[in-house]
Symmetry: C2
Subunit: 342 residues, 2 copies
Amino acid sequence: MAMNLKSLSVLLGLSQTTISRALNGYPEVSAQTRRRVLDAVRETGYRPNRAAQRLATGKAKSIGLVMPVGLVTESDVHFGEFLEGLSSKAVAYDFHFVMNPSLPGEEETTFRRLAASGTVDALFLASVRADDGRLAMLQSLSVPFIVHGRSIGVPMDYPYLDIDNTKAFYTATRLLIQLGHTRIALINGPEHLTYAIRRKRGVVRALADVGLILPDEAVQHSVMTDDYGFQGMQRFLTLDEPPTAVLCSSTVLALGAVRALNEAKLKIGRDVSLIAHDDVLPMLKPEHFSVPLTTTRSSLRAAGARIAERLIGPLLGLCDYPRQELWETELIVRDSTGPAPL
Amino acid sequence: MAMNLKSLSVLLGLSQTTISRALNGYPEVSAQTRRRVLDAVRETGYRPNRAAQRLATGKAKSIGLVMPVGLVTESDVHFGEFLEGLSSKAVAYDFHFVMNPSLPGEEETTFRRLAASGTVDALFLASVRADDGRLAMLQSLSVPFIVHGRSIGVPMDYPYLDIDNTKAFYTATRLLIQLGHTRIALINGPEHLTYAIRRKRGVVRALADVGLILPDEAVQHSVMTDDYGFQGMQRFLTLDEPPTAVLCSSTVLALGAVRALNEAKLKIGRDVSLIAHDDVLPMLKPEHFSVPLTTTRSSLRAAGARIAERLIGPLLGLCDYPRQELWETELIVRDSTGPAPL
DNA sequence: CAAATTATTCAAAGCGCTTTGGGCGTTAGA
DNA sequence: TCTAACGCCCAAAGCGCTTTGAATAATTTG
């Protein structure tokens, strides 16, 4: 049934060695023989068995990614977008990646199993938490890996790609302050994730620069769906002194926030200013909001592509990738920000 | 470095056979020996090499999914949501799935390669087109597969899971007609995809029932992003006789459509009625639109989960799955539909 | 108590590929 | 001319696991 090396070798009257070499581009095969092999492969539809290749070479040509799955599916959209980037590169290198859906508590086990079973030659970690124990674990696994994001309070030196979240939100907040806002609120991602922690820090710092503070009631941490954006904004509006400017950790949150503002008949950019972080989700462009959103921008898809590159490149001997990258974000001013109301 | 069966057998003074059997639950191993093996496994962190297992058993314990990638990334959000469902089940059966990003023209090659190389034991196909040649190809591959959606004009008998798109949009349109609407428009998915074709048919039929037709200028086919929802609705509003009711193939499209209506100062549910198909995207709930949307509903995530089940089940000898399933959708009436304006 | 089971365990043969270590003709160097 | 150097190709040894066919030890059975 299935064509394999042996059948092919019989068919061609060549040794398996020669065929293997012809296919893998080794020089010690005559041009004529190589042609013959290639032709036969085309005709028979032969494909080397990947499991056998793995076993023989020890290389899996695949990268593992542990996908958080569970009750609360964090950041689905964002994750999907990241995947697109990752996969576009993977295909270019003929790598495939195995998704390992994993329940929250079982992630560590999953990583261990992947590494020990030789299913993948490289791993990828996302949704980094403060003091994330998975980093030390990955380090110990003797499988190359890259982290999307970086931890806090982990003194290790590990490879990562992250964006400068602190700076992004610091700059955004500074803009709001320059516009005269003093009551600023934040609708953030999940509290334990480091990007959320850093974004909050950015806001806090910018406020501190001018002697202001960020009160607890002006911060919401939650999964980034429009629901929570809505709820968060609604709650802010019931405060004694509602904020005149709000930062959102995602355009998805902003979607809900905008809805809440509309319901309250508040005009965005005049009554309340809004800045969101834009992951460049194709389905949700900030310039298409009824009032185009001012954003801090960094493409999640580009990050995925870059990580794939850095993961795969070294496996193929293409070196020279930086070990750690910190991308700057762009602050793009549109119509959702304006001077603070008097 | 890496612990393997041989080392373990030396360590325990047992044969590889016995250990293998102990681990795979065969009866011909004494309880005591099994304990010893299990303990040793725990201590050493041994994991069977998956490539070797595959080679030996011929089973890959993984399912392949060819992910469309390219210039126009179709329905990212929708796809992501589907994935979540698929993966949640996969994990339950200790299967992983390999994503194969594939450019539009290369899908067929990718399928072939996956099948011939024994990387996966089952395949999955989505984004079905009319007269989709990939079906015949899959059939010929001697690898089990399931199609999400079903083709049109392909007389074959193949396993699928689909929702009754025609009926969904037929029923929705009938509701609009009952409310007195006669000028109805449709913002649909990509023209070549069968779900879009069927949805349009549903609309056409319901209109035909009462002697009406669906003019070409009242239909838009496009990728389902909010952009296109916006553009589509805007265009409809410039028609000589603008529609009084519009159907959208996704809540994402509806997002843009709503924006266009807001800009035109038209009141949803009064000036213009809106019905959208709801894939139950957690980030975009129809009940959270400023005017809660009337929808036809069917969970994409549930579909993913079900497909994983049907893909994996038979491989494990759990049979009794229907070969073809056609899910009904629910028509849920909220506030975005109302009587046609006079 | 011998013979027949039954319960455990093992050695060895693959699974399909890559890779090491030759083995021949041919051509180049001395 | 003889030898060193290629060029090209092959046989065979794994990679780490499962599985078949036996062997050995422990129990039963007649």
